[in-house]
């Protein structure tokens, strides 16, 4: 038999000015099941809490209702008090008679009646409450970092330096990402590789970091603190434990005409290769799609000449299972490529290139050793046109968003060109200049004012070739919309930043959401910008949206701090407001019919299918079970369940029905 205590708070005069608290206390005392009822000036004060604790002990109360402010204010306070008095804290409920009664209604009988109605409702609810225990989840203190670009590198180093182990997975043969391809970086024009390569080496040498290059995440299961991840280690065909990185193999490899991805196709590499001289690890892999041995069955030169005997053609993809507590997704971005701009002749005219190609041309380690030479004939262009917003902010192209980095890197490109070719002409077509970062606008002004780059506000309608020149047709909207035609030697398109091609697959593998452009979705656009909706999975860098380096690094450090925070205790405590499936022994006595509707609606993939078999292995029943580590307690599954086999602790069907009945039946 329930023995409920009701505690009516005056909140000074906040409640008692409009609600007749004494009357509420008196009437509440007469409700069925109520063993004690009292009103007091300040329930949340120390004496108020003591009053509650003493009453619970004295009257052997089994549950309490505190009628005062919003539960969003003091639920925690009173639950702690209940716990101190020796009852389960989840036997404490609050009746909100301040925010939702006394403050919004005038002093009247109706107001007092409403307060009493709410008290009665909560009394009926608390009668149906059950003892709940906070859920403890152990934490594996290892982080998985997916992607070895600057975002992944920063996150991995931060976590590793905090003393936790990190597993880094990079799909390419080397870490470094797009940043390793860049020439100089805005707004300081310091060399990208100079600042990046020490970090890359640090990752490789850090005792807390295990690096897997040429590997991909195949599968992710589990939940925060307890993820199980399968990593596919793609066959490198080179045993890195034996390889010394001497380079004999790639010097002798006969397949020398493979377009070099690192140089954006403007150079060649061999079939056994290390992508660039500063690669980490600086040991080669065999690109089987282009290797004579794998394609034609003959060659084997590298194996014959390798002094370390590291070449192994027989090795297959291997799978590695690891347990991690947190995952940082730093899978990066891509740029729009050919076929997207028929009007600009991109992909058709050799000298219409994209921003990343220009980076390689301008880079000292690039195919032209840092000289800006056009790809078609190697001449130094006299006149370059840069087109910002190529594809971005263009509804007709299906990309409405701003790619964010183009304004800055276009200014940088124009500057780099002018620094190398003083008498050259650089034109920039732009829509708006978005240089809203520290020292950014100053940088753009420098390009315009000191380096004499011609900025034309307007868009380019078409680029075509005529007499060996690229004719760029555009408009100058600041000059009465006059049409402009420039005969250029080279055109650089600041093509749109897009999500990686396999972003959708990655997101589905991780159970994280993504937007229509396949950029990964943060849990909250303002207040939780680095976490995903799946607890324990964080985002870093341009996989979440276009970003420059400083912003990427900040986000990477932020997501690392989230992981470090998670790892700061051995286990996590979670509110027990989670869904439970009606189960009793023997297991097949559940009323769940296995229709899986709940599984479909669950936003957290917290509901799992369970097959029950008899001793001979025959399937006898299919039902669901809830992973309490993943469940966030929204209860959508409960409303969906056709036969009420799943219920939400703290907001159970019984509790909610009692509330409705009590509210209406005075």
């Amino acid at each position: 038999m329930a023995r409920i205590g009701v505690f009516i708070c005056h909140c000074g005069e906040n409640i008692s000015a409009t609600v007749d608290v004494a009357k509420v206390a008196e009437k509440a005392g007469k409700l069925s099941g109520v063993a004690y009822s009292v009103d007091y000036k300040y329930m949340c004060s120390d004496p108020g809490q003591t009053l509650i604790i003493d009453a619970i002990k004295e009257h052997k109360l089994t549950g309490i209702v505190v009628a005062s402010c919003s539960p969003r204010m003091h639920e925690g306070t009173f639950r702690k008090a209940a716990e101190k008095a020796g009852i389960n804290p989840y036997f404490c409920e609050m009746a909100n008679i301040r925010e939702q009664v006394s403050w919004v209604h005038p002093k009247s009988d109706a107001t007092t009646q409403k307060a009493l109605d709410i008290v009665r409702t909560m009394v009926e609810k608390v009668k149906k409450n059950t003892a709940l225990t906070p859920i403890k989840v152990p934490i594996t203190k290892t982080a998985l970092v997916i992607g070895g670009g600057i975002a992944g590198i920063q996150a991995a180093l931060d976590i590793a330096n905090a003393g936790h182990s990190v597993i880094m997975v990079e799909k390419k043969p080397s870490i470094g990402g797009h940043m390793s391809q860049l020439s100089e970086t805005f707004p300081t024009l310091d060399c990208s590789q100079c600042i990046l390569t020490p970090r890359m080496v640090e990752v490789a040498q850090h005792p807390n970091i295990t690096l897997y290059t040429y590997a991909e995440v195949e599968k992710v299961t589990g939940f925060v603190g307890n993820f199980e991840v399968t990593i596919r280690m793609k066959a490198k065909s080179v045993d890195h434990s034996k390889c010394t990185g001497c380079g004999t193999c790639w010097q002798k490899c006969p397949s020398k005409k493979i377009p070099d991805e690192f140089n954006e196709g403007m150079g060649f590499r061999t079939a056994i290769y290390s992508p660039f001289p500063q690669a980490v690890p600086n040991k080669p892999v065999i690109d089987r799609d282009h290797c004579n041995y794998f394609q034609k069955g003959k060659c084997g030169v590298c194996q014959k000449i390798c002094p370390a005997g590291a070449i192994d053609y027989e090795v297959q993809d291997e799978f590695l299972d690891v347990k991690v507590g947190a995952i940082i997704t730093a899978t990066g971005f891509d740029l729009k490529h050919a076929d997207f701009f028929p009007e600009y002749g991109y992909g058709q005219f050799k000298d219409v290139i994209d921003g990343m190609m220009f980076e390689r041309l301008a880079s000292a380690s690039g195919p032209t050793a840092g000289e800006i030479r056009r790809p078609s004939d190697g001449k130094i262009p006299e006149k370059i046109v840069f087109v910002a917003c190529a594809g971005s902010r263009d509804k007709a192209k299906g990309i409405e968003y701003c790619s964010k980095i183009c304004c800055m890197y276009t200014a940088k490109h124009a500057m780099l060109y002018k620094h190398k070719k003083h008498d050259g002409d650089a034109y920039v077509f732009y829509m708006d200049i978005r240089a809203a970062g520290k020292d950014y606008d100053e940088f753009v002004r420098r390009a315009i004012e000191e380096d004499d780059v011609h900025y034309i506000r307007g868009r380019v309608s078409r680029i075509y070739e005529k007499n060996g020149k690229l004719i760029v047709k555009g408009v100058d909207t600041l000059m009465n919309g006059d049409p402009v035609e420039i005969e250029a030697d080279m055109v650089v398109l600041a093509t749109a930043v897009i999500a990686n091609q396999d972003a959708e697959t990655v997101a589905q593998r991780m159970h994280i959401s993504y937007n229509k452009h396949h950029f990964f979705a943060e849990a909250h656009p303002k207040l939780r910008p680095v976490e995903t909706n799946t607890a324990g999975i964080m985002l870093a860098g341009a996989c979440q949206g276009a970003k420059d380096i400083p912003e990427t690094v900040s986000q990477a450090s932020a997501s690392a701090s989230k992981a470090i925070g998670l790892f700061s205790s051995n286990e996590m405590t979670r509110e027990p407001i989670v869904a439970v499936v009606n189960r009793q022994a023997p297991p097949n006595f559940t009323s769940c019919t296995g229709c899986m509707l709940c599984m479909e609606v669950c936003p957290y993939h917290a509901i799992e299918r369970e097959e029950m078999k008899d001793r001979t292995g025959n399937l006898i029943k299919v039902a669901v079970k809830v992973n309490a580590g993943l469940c966030q307690g929204c209860g959508t599954c409960v409303a969906m369940c056709r036969n009420k086999s799943i219920d939400l602790q703290g907001f159970s069907n019984d509790q909610m029905l009692s509330e409705v009945m009590a509210l209406l039946n005075s």
Binding site: F341, P342, E343, G345, Q348, A396, R462, I463, Y464, E465, K466, I471
Partner: protein, 290 residues
């Protein structure tokens, strides 16, 4: 199925040969086209600048008549008519209130679900499946397919798959045995908006188109719009002055070119109605090898 035909003013006047050649090609392939009875002006050139309701009511009336006369598809060979009518259809089918209002103006009911075909959609859908049996000649020349503005803009009613680099007419020309060139002026402006008021602008813009086609070795320009044809064909004296040179590049409607490949006599296709002589096109033709 009965296919409706909407000529609009151009195909009855300045571009009679467009209409003639379309009917000749259709007839050759055994396809019947039926003119919408009592059609009215589409309102191009002026209405949409003066009164938005009128600009909708004019094409809507024609659409309503076509529906009433039981057509499920209507071919609209003129690009301006196509643009106006497709735009009206879109606006009306997206907005019930507008539809009700326009229905009241024209005193006819309107479903706006009729399918509108451009000339190249018509060729693709009805002529292509049976064309092989009828194509006896190879045009044997380089052609520049010129699409103009009205098929490619606005994006919502564009009849082209790739609006920046359309290939629809190029495909028809390949079928006719010609070699379409790759050039940059496919959807540039010919100056049609100024066709009467500022012929100097027309000469400048159309001149560039003709010059680029000639520079890239085209032997003829293929169009599917009466306005384009008028500007590229008729304004040659002004263009000559503008470019300071004479370019004798003939301009053909796509249906004329296809008709030639089907062995239809030049006169029947109205090739004798052009300002720039078209003999060179005809002399290029060779018999198709079996």
């Amino acid at each position: 199925m009965r296919i409706g035909f909407y000529p609009g003013c151009s195909l009855e006047g300045s571009s009679k040969e467009y209409s003639d050649s379309l009917f000749a090609v259709a007839e050759k392939c055994g396809i019947m086209l039926e003119e919408i009875k009592d059609w009215s002006c589409c309102g191009a050139s002026a209405a949409h600048n003066l009164n938005h309701d009128l600009a909708l009511a004019l094409p809507a009336r024609t659409l309503a008549l076509a529906e009433k006369q039981g057509f499920e598809e209507v071919v609209i060979p003129c690009a301006a008519c196509y643009s106006r009518i497709a735009g009206t259809k879109q606006e009306i089918s997206n907005n019930v209130a507008t539809r009700k209002k326009i229905e009241r103006y024209i005193d006819l009911t309107l479903e706006a679900d009729i399918k509108i075909l451009t000339v190249f959609e018509f060729l693709q859908k009805y002529i292509f499946p049976v064309a092989d049996g009828h194509i006896v000649n190879k045009l044997n020349q380089k052609t520049a397919c010129y699409y103009g503005c009205l098929y490619s803009r606005p994006k919502e009613t564009a009849a082209l798959e790739q609006i920046e680099n359309p290939m629809e007419m190029d495909k028809v020309m390949v079928k006719a045995g010609a070699t379409p060139i790759d050039w940059a002026f496919k959807t540039e402006c010919c100056g049609a908006g100024f066709t009467m008021s500022r012929t100097d602008i027309v000469a400048k813009l159309s001149g560039k188109i003709i010059e680029d086609a000639a520079d890239r070795g085209a032997e003829s320009i293929i169009v599917a719009c009466p306005m384009c044809h008028v500007n590229l064909d008729m304004r040659r004296p002004e263009i000559k002055k503008q470019l300071n040179k004479e370019i004798n590049l003939p301009v053909l409607f796509i249906t004329q070119a296809l008709g030639l490949s089907m062995g239809i006599p030049a006169d029947q296709l109205g090739l004798n109605k052009h300002y720039v002589p078209t003999d060179k096109v005809v002399t290029c033709i060779v018999k198709k090898e079996a």
